[in-house]
Symmetry: C2
């Protein structure tokens, strides 16, 4: 029955009988209308929550979820001209799409390189590295937990260790230090968030996250930055364009 009820509601949403942000019948009403117990009506709504179709707000009601306009991430956001002209990647990207970007620094510290990071730097796990942990915001909603790692000799004595990295951000500072940035590797996978991640990113139920490893190489092929980001899945859309290899 719970599936019946859920399907009933889903149909109403998909056909537009219930539009975005519309309020669903209350649990009591759903139970009465479908001649089921309150627990079953609740279970049906839970199913829809898990599929990301509705959200519930205690004390208010159940509502059809609005699909947030996903931000498109294209590789143009890395264009050298942008950060050379003093614009941080984050800001450039958001503004291109009419959004307001922000960030909170969560931690600046020396730490032991975790496995995925060490592997990409080709150094032993546990080697001391510098980490810059931040939460990025789009229109005041947190959308990424982004941790950037650097080898110590790369950042010592630069503004990358500071709260404010200055115009153009870390990339601009790296270039000033003599690293000519050349290539980027992006590797990602998908999963459901852990409890703390759900809270930190204020994720609605039924929202997956994307794990993104971004490695930046200089012209010598040296990985100069490894970033590990956990991105809110409902706010991301990536796009890549490439030549078909021979």
């Amino acid at each position: 029955m719970q599936v019946r009820v859920a399907d009933d509601i889903r149909l109403k949403i998909e056909t537009g009988t219930l539009g975005p942000s519309d309020q669903l019948p209350t649990l009591d009403e759903l139970a009465a209308d479908h001649l089921v117990s309150l627990a079953v009506a609740r279970k049906a709504v839970d199913l829809l929550k898990q599929q990301g179709l509705v959200i519930t707000i205690q004390g208010k009601g159940t509502f059809v979820r609005e699909r947030p306009t996903a931000r498109r991430h294209g590789i143009d956001r890395y264009a050298k001209s942008r950060w050379r002209s003093g614009q941080a990647i984050l800001t450039a990207e958001a503004e291109l799409q009419g959004h307001r970007a922000g960030q909170l620094i969560r931690e600046l510290a020396e730490t032991a390189a975790p496995a995925g990071v060490a592997e990409r730097f080709k150094i032993p796990v546990g080697t001391p590295v510098w980490v810059r942990r931040r939460t990025t915001l789009v229109d005041d909603r947190p959308n990424q937990l982004a941790d950037s790692y650097f080898e110590l000799d790369v950042v010592n004595g630069t503004r990358i260790r500071e709260d404010d990295t200055g115009p153009g951000g870390s990339y601009a500072r790296l270039e000033e230090s003599g690293f000519e940035l050349d290539e980027i590797t992006e590797e990602w996978s998908v999963r459901m968030p852990t409890g703390p991640e759900s809270a930190a990113l204020r994720l609605p139920a039924g929202t997956p996250v994307v794990d993104l490893f971004r490695t930046t190489f200089d012209t010598m092929g040296r990985p100069v930055e490894v970033m590990l980001a956990v991105i809110a899945g409902d706010m991301v859309q990536m796009s890549y364009r490439f030549k078909i290899p021979d």
Copy 2:
């Protein structure tokens, strides 16, 4: 309490007290051990299922979920040398990683172009196009619902309309028809599966899916194929490498 119980179990999993494919205590035991009702124990296990940490099998028990070895998708899978030598992309990719690939054709038909497809072909929504729907399998588990769309004049009279597209697959046939394949765009986003998708891909609870649009262009810049794939999120890992644009 449900959260307490769930956290308790999660801790055991994360510390390795419970390893992959180990069986958890039964719901009755969990309830008794934590002095809660059966319903609460069940709710706790539900939470872990949603986070993809455990799976339940009716009649058998609850088990710590094994993380399937995600397949890495790199752009090398599109290398011309592969399909020119008669190897389909799907097969090449799987074999590179020691897996067995397969596919089931779900439908071959003329259909009206849906919005996302029409947009990428730059044709009006509803224009008749050819669609080739298939379910791809890796080691006998379905991992993608992949629908390839082609404009009619591109596929008429070719083996692309047939069940077996022949050596090298559609790409090889397109080249034979005089389309010189050149570039690909991949655009993806993430969401939770719908009910039918969950069933078709045999997704464990708490598994997201990836929506992938792949558009293949020829040297004239014409989009010759648009593929829309729904990929099981627990079996995918994508990687891209690119030069930093100027």
